[in-house]
């Protein structure tokens, strides 16, 4: 009988042990976050199955995005070049500042709606969102760090070890996990609540100049800056001569094909009122200078887009209406969403400024 008791005690211990282990795991399981596709939008291209969004993953990504220690001298976080009030571009900068007084060679684009994007950078050189951080982290004119050093810094940090564990189940820290976490955060940067979107949802209506601008837009711009993302993600030559100091050949750098010379990806025009200066090298300081380029300044080349072979006829009146329409693409709730701001700044968010009055 004594033996019987021992067996029971052992079984009991085992059951409690298993329950304890199971409970522990449940406690550490990251909490899933649903990615919502705005009504009327296409399905995203990012493969969420290989990197499911979780609260812990997003929180870790946000921490990394705003951490200057990922750069060589501690000064350049992703967020130093991708600023929320500029729709995550470098506000009011044609080129961005990087390590050791250097500049980037292109204008930092705004970051939003990245789940719908297949290729990244102005020339489409990066073929997966998870790969994107590798470029700025290691570029000598951006964060200038080695991946080994970045890993060493993260592994030495107790807080990161805890955050990686919370997001991925254990404390393993590697480039794959770091980049997946950053992807999770930037994937949540969805901008779909501008006045334009509200009009589309029937929650607001355009005033006359905006409506007229929208009509002109659909005729003259929509074939490249296609709704609802305001880009068709194609690469086009819009008659911009290369800057002699940058000598940027654009898409041809990736394909090696001369037909792709000076082609750049069509940028989204969402939040365009906030993303000045414009163009792949930030050469246009205002919307009116972009319009001036389309109607006069263009250098038509053999591979300039067929839609622009005769430049774009735009009257002053049309430019006025188009500008009114483009201002309706500003999503002030996106620009001020405290969840996208540096961690810890949730409570210092001011009331959203509505800038499309």
């Amino acid at each position: 009988m004594r033996f019987c008791k021992t067996i029971w005690v052992v079984v009991l211990l085992l059951v409690t042990g298993i329950a304890w282990v199971a409970a522990d795991n449940a406690y550490f399981r990251p909490r899933p976050v649903k990615f919502t596709v705005p009504a009327g939008w296409p399905q995203p291209v990012y493969d969420f199955k290989s990197n499911p969004l979780t609260q812990e993953g997003i929180a870790l990504g946000r921490e990394l995005f705003y951490d200057g220690r990922l750069s060589k001298d501690g000064n350049f976080s992703c967020g130093s070049c991708h600023q929320q009030f500029g729709a995550f571009d470098t506000y009011d900068h044609n080129l961005s500042h990087g390590f050791d007084n250097s500049f980037t060679t292109r204008n930092a684009p705004g970051l939003f709606n990245l789940a719908w994007q297949k290729e990244f950078m102005w020339d489409g050189g990066i073929n997966h969102l998870d790969l994107q951080p590798l470029a700025p982290l290691t570029a000598p004119n951006e964060m200038a760090e080695t991946l080994e050093n970045v890993m060493a810094k993260l592994k030495a940090d107790k807080k990161y070890r805890a955050m990686f564990k919370a997001a991925f189940g254990d404390e393993t820290i590697n480039t794959q996990r770091m980049n997946k976490a950053i992807s999770q955060f930037v994937l949540t940067l969805v901008s779909s609540n501008s006045k334009y979107d509200k009009v589309k949802r029937g929650e607001a209506s355009f005033i006359l100049p905006e409506q007229l601008g929208y009509d002109i837009f659909k005729k003259k711009c929509n074939s490249c800056h296609t709704e609802p993302l305001f880009t068709d993600f194609s690469y086009r030559n819009t008659g911009l001569k290369a800057d002699p100091y940058l000598n940027d050949v654009g898409r041809m750098k990736i394909t090696g094909n001369p037909a792709d010379s000076l082609k750049f990806r069509v940028p989204s025009l969402r939040n365009v009122a906030r993303t000045f200066p414009y163009g792949h090298d930030g050469r246009f300081f205002s919307l009116s200078s972009v319009f001036e380029h389309y109607r006069n300044g263009m250098t038509v080349m053999h591979n300039t887009d067929s839609l622009l072979q005769h430049k774009l006829a735009l009257s002053n009146f049309e430019i006025g209406q188009l500008t009114a329409f483009l201002y309706t693409l500003t999503d002030s709730s996106f620009l001020t969403n405290p969840r996208f701001a540096p961690p810890g700044s949730e409570n210092i968010g001011k009331a959203p400024v509505d800038i499309h009055l």
């Binding site: 997966h128 998870d130 480039t175 794959q176 990736i254």
Partner: protein
């Protein structure tokens, strides 16, 4: 006492069951592929000067390449052992990286086949781990894709800063593909194989269907025509030096 007997029987059954589900007791046989670098008839020492097949004096500082998707055929020509989705980075600087252990029964073997490089699917699937971790410096960040093989060093023929020649050969898209399938036949024999020694001859990079003159092409850093020509050359760099 009756109950006691039952417990004994129960534990016995449990133990038996566990022994069935447990691992096969017999240790599987391992075949080792061992890579070593040579230049012509010399075995390669990093940093030391040699004259290459085209007469250029070179000192190699870095020599790395990916080996993946290994396929081994036995001598009867019947059984084929596949090792898909396994990637190894062979690095002349790191002797541990030069031997690859494969679980294959003790058999006479006929052929070794592998891909030098990384298949296209891994080039478009985000960040990978292990040998494919971008941390190893074998990944282009600005034009996504793996560097399949890397050869760097100094040569008086390289008229560039530091007289450094740097060949980073990559590209996975159709016409630019630099991954190459290598097929090597083992010398015929009936003895079971434990170890296959494979020589990688750097001379093949320079002298193949294409003549890679360092004076003309000291640098290859992007996918395209030159990379493909070098890849066609390095396809011929391997040979089986001995089998045990």
């Amino acid at each position: 006492m009756n109950r006691f007997a039952k417990y004994i029987a129960f534990t016995g059954c449990l133990a038996l069951l566990l022994s069935f589900t447990g691992k096969h007791p017999q240790e599987p046989h391992v075949v080792t592929l061992r890579f070593h670098s040579v230049i012509g008839n010399h075995s390669l020492e990093l940093g030391r000067s040699y004259v290459n097949a085209l007469g250029d004096t070179i000192a190699v500082q870095r020599f790395k390449y990916y080996v993946s998707n290994i396929i081994i055929t036995d001598a009867v020509g019947k059984d084929v052992y596949l090792f898909p989705r396994r990637y190894y980075l062979v690095d002349a600087e790191d002797s541990a990286s030069q031997s690859i252990q494969l679980k294959i029964p003790a058999l006479p073997l006929k052929q070794v086949r592998f891909t030098l490089g990384v298949d296209s699917i891994r080039n478009v699937s985000g960040v990978q781990t292990g040998a494919l971790d971008p941390l190893h410096g074998m990944f282009w960040t600005w034009n996504s894709g793996y560097i399949m093989a890397k050869l760097e060093g100094v040569s008086s023929s390289a008229h560039v800063p530091g007289q450094r020649f740097t060949y980073h050969v990559g590209g996975f898209k159709a016409a630019d593909n630099t991954a190459r399938v290598i097929t090597l036949d083992l010398p015929p024999g009936t003895a079971p194989v434990d170890e296959i020694n494979i020589a990688a001859d750097i001379n093949a990079w320079f002298k193949g269907g294409f003549l890679l003159k360092i004076g003309e092409h000291p640098i290859c850093h992007s996918p395209g025509g030159l990379a493909v020509q070098i890849a066609d050359n390095y396809k011929g760099m391997f040979s089986i030096s001995s089998v045990r």
